[in-house]
């Protein structure tokens, strides 16, 4: 297999980029439709399960007195976690001018938005009285009652609202120039849609200038926001007094876990999109390698934080937490716990080998396994604590019912459906930014090769005074 060492072939014509990406919105491979059908089927399982649960009561989930939370909350955290990579990585990489993010950030951000929308469903599904869900929102009534702002669940509501709004806006703002391209090329309802969404993008310097600042500012705000969101989600547990939950290292642990699962999900979706939409030119193996390396690094951070947690509990004085830890290793859930450690800490070592990194089918499986590990991590946070907490008389081992599994299963269908619909309607590769990437890379390459004077695109007829020296063109001054 030929391995392309470049992130992108800088000789791609800009018009070709437009054509390729626009084509993706029309003619995907048939596998795309298979995936859509699969997602619909999965979603319908969840819908049936949820209707049954709504009518009958939470009892159908097998939840019981010690186990008041289970898969719903675990999966909620999983989806929240998955949402972290897209926006957070996109924002960080944007700030540090890592331009290889450009072909992949759009779908990663879409993944953020949709996994947040999936995550947001879970607290609702999990509520005993969904129809009163709106009581968590601080709205003014004459009854003089408010939500309890002390509750981490209310923080969750605030944080998720903020995060969803911000990351959806970030995704949308970043997409405006591309929407303008779509607008110029679409017909029918799509034309109307893109005309409205592109908000009158003209591509003039005023728009670009404000656009650049806006995008940078939002990126700056999104980084701390994303970190705070998962820290707040971790405080659902860390703020309680339960052993196994009341852990100081939970916020960084959750954030690391979030990035980890997000990166793994990016790999999965990367491979899928690359296949569905013939994106081999843009989603290159070189980029894949970079994500894999990043994922590996985060996996090691996560492993380290795991060990920190074990060590601090092991050498700590809290006997109950220690018992819980031991039971995690040896108790009724130990198989899943070991599986989590295997998937989360051992499997990523495959990422250290270039042979595997560059082999798409392997990476597809590996990324799914990593995400399985991360899902197990959330389950192993939620359930064993409830099974074996302070009061031994109320210990219990509980396995989720088919209703819970059905809804969790269906949530993947829901996410998949949203995501696949999105990539079909919107450009999943940022056209203008790939152009930028190509442009700057070409100039870099040009500057390196300027002695030969062959590929140098820079006009120098009027002397060197008129040479633009923007970002991405270092070293030109000396030429």
């Amino acid at each position: 297999m030929h391995i392309n060492e470049k992130d992108i072939d800088e000789n791609i014509k800009w018009a070709e980029i437009n054509k390729d990406v626009l084509k993706s919105m029309e003619n995907p491979r048939p596998a795309y439709w298979v995936a859509i059908g699969l997602c619909l089927a999965m979603l319908s399982v969840a819908v049936v399960a949820e209707i049954y649960q709504y009518q009958t009561g939470m009892g159908v989930t097998n939840l019981n007195n010690p186990h008041m939370w289970d898969l719903y909350i675990a999966t909620f955290i999983f989806w929240i976690g998955m949402s972290h990579s897209g926006t957070l990585l996109s924002a960080i990489l944007h700030i540090i001018h890592a331009d290889w993010r450009k072909p992949i950030y759009r779908f990663a951000e879409a993944m953020t938005t949709f996994s947040l929308m999936t995550a947001g469903l879970f607290p609702m599904i999990h509520l005993g009285r969904v129809w009163n869900m709106y009581w968590v929102i601080p709205y003014v009534t004459d009854r003089g009652i408010w939500p309890n702002f002390r509750s981490p669940l209310v923080w969750d509501a605030f944080a998720i609202t903020t995060y969803l709004t911000s990351s959806a806006l970030f995704l949308f703002i970043g997409m405006i120039p591309d929407l303008a391209i779509c607008r110029d090329n679409a017909k029918g309802w799509r034309k109307k849609l893109y005309t409205v969404l592109s908000m009158g993008w003209r591509g003039d310097d005023r728009q670009w200038r404000n656009f650049r600042k806006t995008y940078m500012l939002m990126a700056c705000f999104l980084i701390p926001l994303a970190v705070s969101v998962h820290s707040i989600v971790s405080s659902d547990f860390a703020m309680s007094i339960m052993p196994g939950w009341h852990v100081t290292s939970f916020p960084p642990y959750f954030v690391a876990g979030a990035l980890y699962s997000g990166c793994a999900a990016i790999i999965t979706l990367f491979i899928l999109l690359r296949y569905f939409f013939y994106f081999e030119k843009y989603m290159t193996i070189a980029i894949m390698e970079k994500i894999c390396k990043l994922t590996f690094a985060i996996a090691m951070v996560w492993t380290y934080l795991n060990l920190i947690e074990f060590a601090s509990i092991w050498y700590g004085h809290d006997m109950v937490s220690k018992e819980l830890l031991i039971s995690k290793f040896t108790g009724p859930y130990s198989f899943w716990f070991w599986l989590m450690l295997f998937c989360g800490s051992v499997v990523p070592f495959m990422l250290a080998f270039k042979k595997y990194r560059c082999h798409m089918p392997t990476m597809f499986v590996v990324s799914l396994v990593l995400n399985l590990g991360m899902w197990l991590e959330r389950w192993m946070i939620v359930t064993p604590t409830l099974s074996l907490s302070y009061h031994p008389f109320q210990w219990d081992v509980m396995w989720p019912s088919v209703v819970q599994w059905g809804i969790v299963f269906g949530s993947f269908g829901w996410f998949g459906l949203l995501f696949l619909t999105f990539v079909k309607i919107f450009p999943s590769v940022s056209m203008y930014e790939v152009k930028e990437m190509v442009y700057h890379r070409k100039r870099e390459a040009g500057s390196a090769a300027s002695e030969e004077g062959s590929a140098a695109p820079v006009k120098n007829e009027e002397g060197n005074k008129a040479t633009p020296s923007g970002s991405g063109t270092p070293g030109l001054e000396g030429a």
């Binding site: 923080w155 003209r202 003039d204 200038r209 500012l217 707040i232 007829e461 633009p468």
Partner: protein
């Protein structure tokens, strides 16, 4: 004397850059650099070298949003808590600082982002009608330079454009 606008489409940025440089250097009488607008498929921050630092006040709005978020957030939360009929404090103060700080922080970011986006819409003149000079090619791979000038200078401008290998010149259709 009536004003008119023309747009020249260039195949690459350097040509357009040089053309604008020429305008800046006063090679085109009656046309100042402020009359020039650049249209491009990608962002070209380096154009500021010739166009000068044009204003982009988005950060001020962001700052305002953040400050509003903090004040509104904290005020809203603590007034809600103070007005809570049953005072569910369980031995803790009415206005709990730790949780309010967390929530205020979220409000700060939310409003900062909202203000930023709003200001982009306003400052970037979004949601306005596109002029007839708009060319789809600008969104593909060509650079447009729009110059606004007296009709008298029309020809010299065209000349300048042609000198820089303009591909196409569009004139605004007069109503």
């Amino acid at each position: 004397m009536s004003k008119c606008r023309i747009m020249g489409l260039f195949s690459d940025f350097e040509e357009a850059f040089c053309a604008i440089s020429d305008i800046k250097e006063g090679k085109l009488s009656g046309v100042s650099i402020d009359d020039v607008t650049l249209k491009s498929p990608i962002e070209h921050p380096e154009i500021e070298e010739v166009l000068g630092e044009r204003s982009a006040p988005v950060p001020y709005f962001t700052l305002a949003g953040a400050i509003f978020g903090i004040t509104f957030g904290f005020t809203f939360l603590s007034s809600a808590q103070a007005n809570f009929l049953v005072q569910p404090q369980g031995g803790k103060p009415v206005v709990p600082l730790p949780s309010n700080i967390v929530l205020t922080y979220e409000m700060m970011i939310l409003f900062a982002v909202l203000f930023t986006v709003t200001s982009l819409m306003v400052c970037g003149r979004f949601m306005t009608k596109r002029s007839s000079l708009y060319s789809e090619k600008v969104c593909i791979d060509q650079i447009g330079v729009i110059v606004e000038m007296d009709e008298a200078d029309l020809e010299s401008t065209k000349e300048l454009f042609k000198k820089h290998k303009v591909l196409e010149i569009r004139e605004e259709v007069k109503q």
